[in-house]
Amino acid sequence: MCLSIPSKVISINGDKAVVSVGGTTYEASLQMLDNVNVGDYILIHTGFAIQKISEEEALETLKVFEDFDELNNSIKPELDNI
């Protein structure tokens, strides 16, 4: 019941949107979310859009690992020198 799925907005009509999840389309209420545009990814929960998914943050979270790698690599030569 607390699981929600990332869905892509296909069309908007008033406070309702048609969204697609892996090829299947559903109707979702936009009553709880402003500024939704076609093409946005939104989180749907029991028929309501509850949040937009931030692409920037999604990439940022994944990037954290790369930073860690860089950090590791930059430390490593120093360690090798000891």
Binding site: M1, C2, L3, L33, E57
Partner: protein
């Protein structure tokens, strides 16, 4: 699929696994509060990816599991009324009440319908004006705004045969209560979708008052492992705080519109939780302004005396004190096909997740 595949990347999972192993020196117990996390953790086999000194335990965040038998009994009693249609999220149909279930009542002729959204229940009420449609409102801050929207919409569209029986609860009092009770938890993997609504701000009291960190996590393997790593780092550095791992949808303030809907329709009341008992200001009752939509007020029914099942240890499991496999009935008398307790019925219940994915 976008925003899913990236977070299931095997290389990232391995990298995180190594990072956790390096970072973690202490013996720690982390609790995943949300039933959705319990399901994901079992499905992806997360415990087997963690070093032995990190223990994950499930918590009280399965809405169906914490709901009282007397609530089910009340819903059962209402389903027996003439011209009543009970509408409910699927999980609740099979949850045992004291002597019956909604499923059983349906097989005996009651009109009980499974809906995906409160909006479907509203539609039924609109189409069948001679019937009284009661929606069973259960769940935490993720589902409560939806029930509130249902009531607001009913009022706006003058649908006066629509009612909500609320057992909605709010999450963070239970997290505090567990620590108060002395359950040894070093960090919380905090609920993802509850936090979309509430924002990270509601957890601030937990590190402040109890020195226990909270990391709000997404539901994919990379999310969960990263959250474990963040908690481990907090613990190792002795710097417990609220952090958000699930930044792509969770922020500090949450969904203000949804919060406003909730505040408009509900008022805080004391509520009973399986395992925890009655917690002050942890439940959401329908405020007097909307009492004409409150099924509890509008339908006077005789509710049978509550009878709990002997042998079911759901209460201890919801507090992280026992594992499903510690229950004598697990996998024998109690299975997903024939559940004894709510924790085996619900997809978000720990017993269900263990049973499903242990084979």
């Amino acid at each position: 699929m976008k925003y899913i595949d990236e977070y299931r990347d095997k290389k990232l999972v391995e990298k995180l696994q190594a990072q956790i192993k390096t970072a973690s020196t202490k013996q720690v117990t982390l609790m995943e509060v949300c039933g959705g996390h319990t399901w994901a953790i079992q499905k992806f086999g997360i415990p087997s990816l963690l070093p032995d000194n990190i223990r994950l335990v499930s918590g009280p965040g399965c809405p169906v599991c914490v709901t009282s038998r007397s609530y089910i009994d009340r819903a059962v009693a209402m389903s027996r009324l003439k011209d009543v249609i009970i509408t409910t999220y699927g999980d609740l149909m099979r949850v045992p009440g004291s002597t019956s279930t909604l499923m059983l009542e349906k097989s005996k002729g009651a009109d009980v319908r499974m809906v995906y959204s409160v909006l479907d229940a509203l539609k039924i009420a609109q189409e069948l004006p001679s019937k009284n449609v009661i929606f069973l409102g259960i769940g935490f801050e993720t589902t409560a705004p939806a029930s509130a929207a249902g009531i607001i919409n009913a009022q706006r569209e003058k649908i006066n045969n629509f009612f909500v029986l609320s057992s909605h609860k709010i999450m963070h009092p239970a997290m505090a209560a567990l620590i108060e009770e002395g359950v040894a938890i070093n960090g919380y993997i905090a609920p993802g979708h509850v936090s979309v609504i509430t924002g990270a701000k509601i957890y601030s009291g937990i590190p402040e008052k109890y020195g226990v960190g909270c990391v709000i996590s997404g539901f994919e393997p990379v999310d969960i492992l990263q959250s474990v790593l963040m908690l481990v780092r907090q613990i190792e550095k002795n710097d417990c705080k609220v952090e958000i791992q699930y930044k792509r949808v969770v922020n500090y303030e949450g969904n203000v519109k949804a919060q406003e809907l909730m505040h408009e329709v509900f008022t805080l009341r004391d509520d009973w939780w399986r395992g925890l008992g009655t917690l002050p200001c942890s439940g959401l009752g329908i405020s007097s302004k909307y009492s004409s939509f409150d099924a509890e007020q509008m339908f006077d029914v005789q509710v049978e005396p509550t009878r709990e099942d002997k042998g079911c240890i759901c209460g201890l499991i919801l507090k992280g004190l026992k594992k499903p496999t510690d229950c004598k009935l697990f996998g024998t008398a109690c299975t997903t096909a024939n559940p004894v307790g709510a924790c085996m019925v619900s997809h978000e219940g720990a017993c269900n997740a263990y049973f499903r994915f242990s084979k």
